[in-house]
């Protein structure tokens, strides 16, 4: 039975990802001065689990790194070593290397970079209690004296020269000569005529080099080539060439074969205790692969013996051994009845395959194990040979491409529109005579709403996917700037659309780095200001109504209003006479605006904040900033739950219907005549609770001709924009509804003041208003309308 290992890869990848993420977050939490033992244990376990999986599934490069990592962690958790900050750096670097390796394996590749050797050497040095002279990792991979590390990298090559893939006239000697040119070749057990295993050792031999040679003589499928590293050597060699040569009944406990002694695939100790196995070079002298001790002794005697194959073992006299013994006795019985067909001689019969099929008795398992050999642990070989399929354990979740989900969301959108159309048509019918149609319609409405919610929930992911990168970002950035900063995450479980999550990462990254660079003061300044030495950044996510609100808080120096105003004057940025704090703070989102005294490599070049704002606006979100001098700055991002569907308010203006995003609407009022004023330079304004808001007439902005009704008969909707609030004049508020966003850009072209379009129930297209753009458009209108403005042309 051959088992396709590739089917487990995906689970392993996901699991390793998780472990790496865990490890990183634990490392970042770790207090080096007072390490929490449980935390060290958890970090160790994460590394350990990755190593176990990597080894099992043949990702030996990862197994090697994790092994070295684990060795150091083991010493830490046993308190043989005191953790130092440099170790955390090394662990983080190792985590990064492992991530890269994992990513490469996901793509069916292998990560090759000198980073791997560098971090291994670094970790090994730390394991031996050495610190690097500087915090940086050593530049060149120096050979280390760790005992696990082999002197030379080596490869294990297993192939069957008699297999059909091989050309008939292959001379093993010639092949050996070719391989010998690459490095030192060790040949084992060719005489048996079964698959042979060779070892090739030497520096700088790549997999491709070996494959090239075999490519000449056979299909590469027939050849298994695997690297043998320090981490895995003992295990791999533990079962290499024993496959060919085990005999159940041969009594040769005292005749170990020197070559095969290190490879016990199936040998059992008949004596106890077994010899120490600490070093890979250790040959198990007492062990013979031809001495299945179990079977030689009297029935039941097995129970008293240790058996040890190097890769597994059984403790004599331990609980449970009675069962093993009875099983063995049964095996023997079956053998006696003629099921055991093994040649008792150490030289193995060639007719192994016929036995496999013909006799499903107890000895079958070892035969198969020995006969078919290990499955190719290197991924290329396995992937080529077997089609990937998923294991039965994976059915609790499935992986679906995002496109499929998006398609589903699109279809649900169409369904919502279709329903709206049907309802529209049905509204002309008599409800009494068409009762069934109406009840059907209401069912349809409910079902499509449920369907929509379910489909949307597929795309929802907890925001921790973005938040989790920040402990690292904060640590690295703070260390870089020699500041002390802690990060607190609140509301990580808040869910939002996957598309938004991905697009949030960059803006948030920028904001956080900015907060550390410009917000949080240096430890000295903080102490001088009577604040705790360590600054704090809080990332907070929450649902508020139909929105996601994300805050980036810092307890730093806050924004300097005077500095911003001076900068604005210097750059000629237009501002009102007595600007509000909010207005002033919004300046930092203007392009090319930086008040940093000096440009650091973290931030301060003035590119960024405007990009951040643009990114957020593209997600139909908005960004606000609050700041108090000496107390800190809070940046608030408001986002809709999803990109595909918008909660909107349908408003009528003349014959046209527009959609206003609900997130933007503050309130709507029926204005009185005296509330309308005209202010020089600002055009018409609305006075509401003592505040004058710019009044936007959509008719003018969109050039729709004369207003249909008098201003005082209209409704004014107050909306939030990035430039502060504004008042939008509409004829009628129609209904609050969810609309499916259709891009105007892809279907038509970009139109200023409009962020998209949607299809209404009656089949007409309604434009979704972009309130931020409307403010700008309105400002541009001013000179035309007032003609006398001096400030109007600044926008």
């Amino acid at each position: 039975m051959t088992i396709d290992m590739t089917q487990f890869y995906q689970v392993f990848f996901d699991e390793a990802d998780e472990h790496l993420a865990d490890m990183e977050s634990l490392l970042l939490e770790l207090d080096v001065d007072q390490p929490d033992l449980e935390m060290l244990n958890a970090i160790f376990r994460a590394a350990h689990s990755i190593k176990g999986g990597a080894g099992t599934f043949g990702f030996n490069d990862m197994a090697r790194v994790t092994h070295i990592l684990e060795t150091l962690l083991d010493r830490l958790r046993k308190q043989e070593l005191q953790p130092i900050t440099e170790m955390v750096d090394a662990f983080l670097e190792a985590g990064d290397v492992l991530k890269a390796q994992l990513q490469a394996h996901r793509e069916g590749d292998e990560y090759q970079d000198e980073r791997i050797d560098r971090v291994c050497t670094w970790l090994e040095r730390l394991t031996h209690g050495e610190q690097s002279p500087s915090a940086a990792p050593p530049a060149s991979p120096e050979p280390s004296l760790t005992r696990e590390r082999p002197a030379e990298p080596s490869w294990q090559i297993t192939f069957d020269p008699h297999a059909p893939e091989f050309k008939a006239d292959v001379h093993l000697d010639a092949l050996a000569d070719s391989l010998g040119e690459l490095g030192t070749l060790k040949r084992h057990s060719e005489a048996t005529g079964r698959p042979v295993t060779w070892h090739l050792a030497g520096h700088g031999i790549s997999l491709a080099d070996i494959q090239d040679i075999f490519d000449f003589i056979c299909d590469l499928k027939g050849v298994q080539i695997m690297p043998m590293d320090g981490a895995t050597k003992s295990m791999l060699s533990a079962s290499d060439d024993g496959d060919e040569s085990f005999g159940f009944f041969d009594e040769a406990p005292g005749a170990p074969e020197p070559e095969e002694a290190e490879d016990p695939g199936y040998g059992f100790f008949t004596d106890s205790p077994p010899p120490p196995m600490s070093a890979p070079s250790d040959h198990h002298g007492e062990q013979s692969d031809s001495s299945y001790g179990f079977f030689e002794d009297a029935p039941g005697a097995e129970a008293c013996h240790d058996s040890d194959t190097g890769s597994y073992g059984l403790f004599g006299n331990s609980p449970g051994m009675a069962q093993v013994a009875s099983q063995a006795a049964q095996d023997r019985e079956e053998d006696a009845q003629g099921y055991g067909l093994f040649d008792p001689s150490p030289g193995y019969p060639t007719s192994i395959h016929s036995e496999d099929d013909g006799h499903p008795g107890a000895p079958e398992a070892p035969t198969k194990g020995g006969g078919t050999g290990r499955p190719p642990p290197n991924k290329e070989a396995t992937a080529k040979a077997q089609s990937p399929k998923r294991g039965p354990g994976g059915d609790s979740s499935i992986r679906v491409s995002v496109e499929k989900v998006d398609q589903l969301i699109n279809l649900v959108g169409e369904l919502v529109i279709t329903h709206a159309m049907l309802a529209e048509s049905a509204s002309r019918l008599d409800p009494v005579t068409h009762e069934k149609i109406f009840s059907g319609l209401s069912n349809l409405e409910r079902n499509s709403r449920d369907l929509q919610q379910s489909v949307m929930s597929i795309r929802m992911m907890p925001i921790s996917f973005v938040f989790n990168r920040f402990p690292r970002v904060v640590r690295d950035t703070a260390a870089n700037l020699k500041k002390k900063v802690t990060l607190r995450l609140v509301g990580e479980e808040t869910e939002l659309d996957k598309g938004l999550i991905e697009r949030l990462a960059d803006p948030l990254n920028h904001l956080v780095r900015n907060s550390i660079d410009h917000g949080i003061e240096s430890p000295e300044k903080r102490l001088a200001a009577g604040k705790p030495e360590t600054g704090e950044i809080v990332l907070r996510a929450s649902h508020q109504g139909g929105n996601i609100v994300i805050e980036v808080n810092d307890d730093g120096a806050g924004l300097n209003r005077e500095k911003l105003l001076a900068k604005a004057a210097e750059r000629g940025v237009p501002l009102s006479d007595n600007p509000s704090d909010k207005e002033v703070f919004q300046l930092i989102f203007a392009a090319g605006f930086s008040t940093a005294d000096k440009v650091t490599d973290i931030s301060g070049r003035g590119v960024g904040m405007d990009v951040v704002r643009r990114n957020i606006e593209q997600m139909n979100g908005r960004i606000e900033i609050d700041s108090a001098p000496g107390q800190g700055t809070r940046i608030t991002i408001r986002l809709p739950l999803t990109l595909a569907i918008l909660d909107g308010m349908a408003v009528r203006l003349g014959d046209e219907t527009f959609i206003l995003p609900l997130t933007a609407i503050r309130e709507s009022i029926q204005p009185k005549r005296e509330q309308f004023k005209t202010v020089s330079g600002k055009g018409k304004v609305l006075n509401t609770s003592g505040e004058y808001l710019p009044l936007v007439m959509l008719q003018d902005v969109f050039d729709m001709g004369q207003a249909g009704q008098r201003l005082e008969d209209s409704i004014v909707v107050i909306v939030d924009t990035n430039e502060g609030r504004m008042a939008l004049v509409v004829d009628e508020l129609m209904a609050q509804q969810q609309v499916v966003i259709k891009s105007l850009e892809t279907n038509y072209r970009k139109v200023r003041g409009v962020s998209g379009a949607t299809i209404l129930g009656d089949g007409r297209v309604a434009l979704i208003l972009d309130v931020d753009e409307l403010v700008h458009l309105n400002q541009e209108m001013q000179p035309k309308r007032t003609g006398t403005s001096e400030q109007g042309n600044l926008a």
Binding site: F44, T56, S311, Y312, L314, A328, G393
Partner: protein, 121 residues
């Protein structure tokens, strides 16, 4: 009746591999995600063989074995440790905890089956 095996490992991939391999060979397999889960599942079931990882959250492999050995129905059921090390110290600990044997990780499915067949047929 198919023999039933409990595999205790906090690594889902290893668990799946073990489970898939053994199910393919006709055994009934139950998975447990850590030592505590393993103990709970062992208590409510009757297994012919138990595989356990060593390093696990909540309850580690050695403690699990000790707990199991204290239960009457697992006094003499084979319990094998899946471990990444095969040093003497580990073996001594395993033996004193009451393990029947050990199997070194990484192992391949053939090896696993071979051991299982050897132990419970």
């Amino acid at each position: 009746m198919a023999k039933s095996i409990l595999t205790v490992d906090d690594s889902a991939s290893i668990r799946q591999m073990v489970s898939f391999t053994l199910k393919g060979a006709g055994y009934t397999v139950t998975e447990a995600v850590d030592g505590q889960d393993g103990l709970d599942k062992a208590r409510s079931g009757n297994f012919n063989l138990i595989f356990t990882d060593q390093n696990m959250p909540r309850l580690d492999g050695l403690s699990l074995i000790k707990e199991l050995r204290a239960l009457p129905q697992y006094k003499s059921v084979p319990i094998l440790m899946l471990t990444t090390e095969s040093g003497e110290a580990m073996k001594a600990q395993g033996r004193s905890a009451g393990a029947t044997g050990w199997l070194v990780k990484p192992f391949d499915p053939q090896k696993l089956l071979e051991v299982v067949r050897k132990v419970i047929g």
